[in-house]
Subunit: 677 residues, 2 copies
């Protein structure tokens, strides 16, 4: 300390300065631009501005005891400890602590406004917390008859004086709440300010429990994640089946429904909005708060779900030229779409990319950041269409390819949704051609003791998407089907598993017997028909051709990394997928699941407002390829019908087939195909 000036250094920012003795720590931090949180504006209510004091960091100055550097624990800090959980050892409220002597102040992560939210997947950068809607506690002066002025004007002036927020407006929908709220706690209230511009919510007194929800509207499943906007953590999640399924299983049948029913758009919009509202109730109940605590929604969806949510007839998306109503990001009041959160709460919908490539793909790009990678990265999200993104930091391309719903188990004779009883993993013995399998709901293989008992409640009911991939890959590896996908009828003579089915042959994946337990009598055999194989060939050819087209555009022969997003991508076995030629050749350890990347993108957009600009910019610059317009697509498609296909060398794949590199993942694939040849 020199001339009553105290030196202070804040860590981790390293910002430093000199201040008069008795300067409040929070003021010092702010004047240096140190990133330190506060909702209550220095009133000792919110506890967001906690810091610790490290000693002895000034080499020229002997520091003896922490007590001499900061003012003693104040009454406000003591009463904060009584009301909330006590302040941890050594923690101080910087708003009620005065600088007495030179010191080093550490701002812990949870006291920083822009702290990092750790993503579980270590491959990715953490999310920097920077929410669009922030809370401010404010004390509004009493009205003065001598200077007549509206209470809103009093509030705006108080926000300017106490928080430096000078250009705010207030959503007119909130006007009816203002005076009743002002009356409740002596004209003290907390406001939520959206993008530093608009007051979108009001609560009486001190309030610091604002939430946001990240929403992923899929054709099949709708999922919401409730995030605490203060910590950035997901505090509750919930999902349910998209209620639009009653209007049509897949996207195109919903579009057909709209074309045949004049009220179809209204019905389906209402259905999805009501589903979202019920999910908002569910997630808030889990943490014991009201839906009014939610002030923001971010949302991803494919184009048809996107349009239906907005009440837009998706008919134009059902045929060429697949024109979106809008591809821009949308920011709107949630109540304008009848979504029940806080009355003034906002909804942000990520931008769409093209008629088949929606905000869900934008979410995937935001989450996976292919445009920040040195490595040439392929992102694939498989549904009724496959959304394909390929590129690196220099260039990014996207397209959609019409895989149809075969990968989801639809249009497959024994296909079904991923539910208990669905076969999800399959191995075929190359000599006996007998199959063993696992079903969802049991951890046992079908040839292990106890399998019948474990599955007796639901039986073996069909094959789900990942099971289809495995069984067809195994059929190919064991020679049951040829490279052209024809079931080899000659095998019918030697194996009861291969049976004639009119002019073609089928493979019996599962034949119930009396030994299968109580349910056996109700169960029918599960058979993979020649047509099932054709459906998988069409689907995988479409996917591969789309990828190949983008590789052509980029003039590349090799992809460095593959990330498979969505439920399908999470469950399929990568090598099986590659054996079928679903995805291009790539080092197998560079192929992985991206989980629910679209939903993660929605969460990033919720927690970091800057990311909204990022994805809007990326989407504007992405090169959109329309597969239907590309003459080469058809040729690639035809060539990709074979297994694995006639386009790719699959050098990585075949090196694995010869010499297993990862026994734990695929011990049984290696060598088998060769052995039968």
């Amino acid at each position: 300390m020199i001339d009553n000036q105290v030196k202070v250094v804040f860590t981790p920012s390293g910002r430093r300065g000199s201040f008069p003795v008795n300067t409040p720590l929070l003021d010092a931090a702010r004047s240096l631009g140190v990133d330190i949180d506060s909702v209550c504006g220095g009133r000792g209510l919110c506890g967001r501005c906690q810091v610790t004091c490290s000693e002895g960091s000034f080499p020229k100055h002997q520091i003896t005891s922490a007590n001499t550097h900061l003012s003693p624990i104040s009454e406000t800090e003591k009463s904060y400890g009584l009301r909330k959980k006590s302040l941890a050892e050594g923690r101080r409220l910087s708003c009620h602590t005065l600088l007495l002597d030179d010191c080093v102040i550490d701002v812990p992560a949870e006291s920083q406004v822009h702290r990092q939210i750790v993503r579980k997947d270590a491959e990715y950068r953490d999310i920097q917390l920077d929410v669009a809607t922030k809370l401010y506690y404010v004390d509004v002066p009493e009205p003065d008859m001598a200077v007549p002025k509206g209470d809103l004007q009093h509030l705006l002036e108080a926000l300017a004086a106490q928080w430096g927020l000078n250009t705010l407006t207030c959503d007119a929908l909130l006007l009816s709440q203002l005076q009743p709220i002002l009356k409740k706690v002596g004209r003290k209230l907390t406001v939520a300010v959206h993008k530093n511009q608009t007051i979108i919510a009001l609560w009486p007194g001190f309030f610091d429990k604002a939430y946001g929800v990240a929403v992923d509207v899929g054709s099949t499943t709708v999922a919401v994640h409730l995030c605490d906007l203060a910590s950035g953590e997901v505090v509750a999640s919930a999902s349910l089946m998209n209620p639009q399924i009653r209007f049509g299983e897949d996207l195109m049948s919903r579009v057909s429904y709209v074309m045949m029913h004049p009220e179809g758009v209204v019905e389906m919009s209402k259905a999805i909005r009501e589903a979202l509202n019920s999910l908002f109730v569910e997630v808030t109940k889990k943490v014991n708060v009201a839906v009014e605590h939610i002030v923001e929604i971010t949302l991803v969806a494919n184009p048809i779900m996107h349009h239906l949510l907005l009440g837009i007839d998706p008919v134009e998306l059902g045929g060429a030229p697949f024109a979106l109503t809008t591809d821009a990001a949308i920011e709107i009041r949630a109540c304008d779409l009848d979504l029940n959160i806080n009355r003034g709460g906002r909804l942000y919908i990520l931008p769409c990319i093209a008629g088949h490539v929606g905000a869900d793909t934008a979410g995937m790009i935001l989450s996976e950041e292919p445009g920040q990678q040195e490595k040439m990265t392929l992102l694939v999200d498989v549904g009724t269409n496959a959304e394909i993104v390929l590129g690196d930091k220099h260039r990014l391309l996207a397209c959609s390819s019409p895989t149809g719903p075969a990968f989801e188990g639809a249009q497959i004779s024994c296909g079904q949704r991923a539910a208990a009883g669905a076969i999800e993993r399959v191995r075929i013995d190359p000599d006996s051609l007998e199959a063993t399998f696992k079903v969802i709901g049991s951890e046992l293989w079908s040839n292990e003791p106890g399998f019948d008992k474990q599955t007796s409640r639901f039986g073996v009911t069909g094959v789900c998407g990942s099971g289809i991939i495995e069984v067809v890959a195994e059929m190919y590896l064991t020679g049951v089907i040829t490279e052209d996908g024809v079931v080899d009828g000659d095998l019918a003579a030697s194996s009861p598993r291969v049976i004639a089915d009119g002019r073609t042959f089928s493979y019996v994946l599962y034949q119930p017997t009396a030994a299968d337990g109580l349910c056996a009598s109700n169960q029918t055999p599960i058979v993979i028909t020649q047509n099932d194989i054709r459906q998988i060939q069409l689907a995988k050819a479409a996917l591969y051709a789309g990828v190949k087209l983008l590789m052509d555009k980029l003039e590349i022969q090799q992809i460095d990394r593959i990330r498979l997003a969505g439920a399908f991508g999470s469950h399929i076995n990568v090598q099986h997928a590659m054996v079928l030629g679903l995805i291009p050749d790539c080092a197998l350890n560079q192929v992985s699941s991206a989980g629910n990347a679209a939903g993660t993108g929605a969460r990033i957009a919720l927690l970091n407002q800057q990311s909204r600009h990022t994805i809007e910019g990326l989407v504007a610059n992405i090169e959109k390829i329309e597969t239907a317009m590309e003459p080469k697509f058809q040729q690639y498609f035809v060539d990709a019908m074979a297994f694995p296909n006639k386009v790719d060398s699959f050098s990585n794949l075949f090196s694995v087939l010869k010499k297993p590199v990862n026994k734990t993942v695929i011990p049984e694939i290696s060598g088998r195909r060769r052995r039968r040849r």
Copy 2:
């Protein structure tokens, strides 16, 4: 013409320039900044760009025939004439007329974007048409699969290319309309753009019938005026009784209703919104258009009506400190208040001034422009409260004074609304003290033959506001009441008109007789009681005291002009009002009715968007005086109880009483009071 350059002068702007031969006139006009209208963007559809050609104005150049200066009548102009009413003689569509030789082009008023709307009251400046919502016809390119893009983005690009509108956004509520509308007329459509920023309405093909409504929500009456936004003309009007009357006759009883009924605000908001919606249907039906043709509403109301319309509990306005929720102007989507106009239509509510001085007063100020006057001007709008504005171009003050509802006929024993059968004019003979009167619904005086027959359908039922003023003034002029407002009981002896009524005396204004016809038996006498006189004294004292207070603040003794606004101001006899001391002394020919000035203000705000900034600025700078805070108010109030009062000299008034200056207006006042004295 020199070197294939043609000279052209546009009148009345006087702008001139040289252009290559064959330049379209509209292009030439625009490049010179000539104010010329167009909705269709030069496609010959709207007919807004009509001009005429004047010849021979270039002294150095001999012009022989109009035909040689402009291209011949084009096919487009001919077909325009076939579709619409033909082009008038000499009129050309400037978008389809090419410059061939030097000429003078006259742009008639109706072809100018910023033309003047003539106000009937010659005292005021015309309204310059400059509407906030403008129409643009636009041709949107077909979607191109090679460059996938949303149809909204196509539309925005087309608006930028065809109209230079580069920074537009579209109200998200319209998204569901876009593609269906694009499909209707080959991707041609008309958009309404609000404040050069936001697309708020869409119509297929060419459309030029956008309307706005100016709304005046009074406690008693709700009035709407439908304006053609192209011409600025009022094309239809309608009004109805404010349905909130069933919750309470006057403002304070409605506030009481809210205080006692938790759902009161919702009920009353719903009632006024439904009333407005029914009026929107009514006015649009009158001109055979749909309510969707309305794209904008501007609205004035007193503070309590203002708050109830917005769904705000007005309870804070019911007592000190009379705090408004907001005093700022409000711009909101009409549908946010459940007002049914075009889905994206906007509502603009003028700013309020103080707790008792509302957007209606702001409308009055916008209409009357006291802040632009050299003369010291007093504006008064009398209702349950009197809103008083006083000032000139240097300074403007406003206050409200609690007159109570006596001037509206309430709290008067025989008082009633202005309806058929209500006495509205009164004369008392100074010698006989007999009264003659006129009632609403009959043009005859009560002593004229045929009066009984004309009034037999409704009878003589009470006295309305203007009648109260006249009868009390006449009672004072004829000495029936003293300067202190006491009915002179001594007169009872000589006149049957003055009768005892307990300890005080009353004046019998009307005594039904058998001769009064069929209704007589149902009719009761109409009597002015001592208490009625007291109510008028209280009301007029409050009004005068408010005016005097503002005169004090401005340190003035004399007012140059008085404008009386509203229904009351339109009907009262100025001299009678001055005899009672209702308004301060002023040259009688400088006192006049301002009609529905508040409603006119709403209309100005509708037709000229700049006026919204003007009134917002004026209101921010106006000095608000709270009468309840002013110690002198009470003294002025007491002193003003007498007739005319004990504050003002009324030199102008007494000079009239001595020497009539205007026999047609008030022949019978002059000299009478003196004669009885």
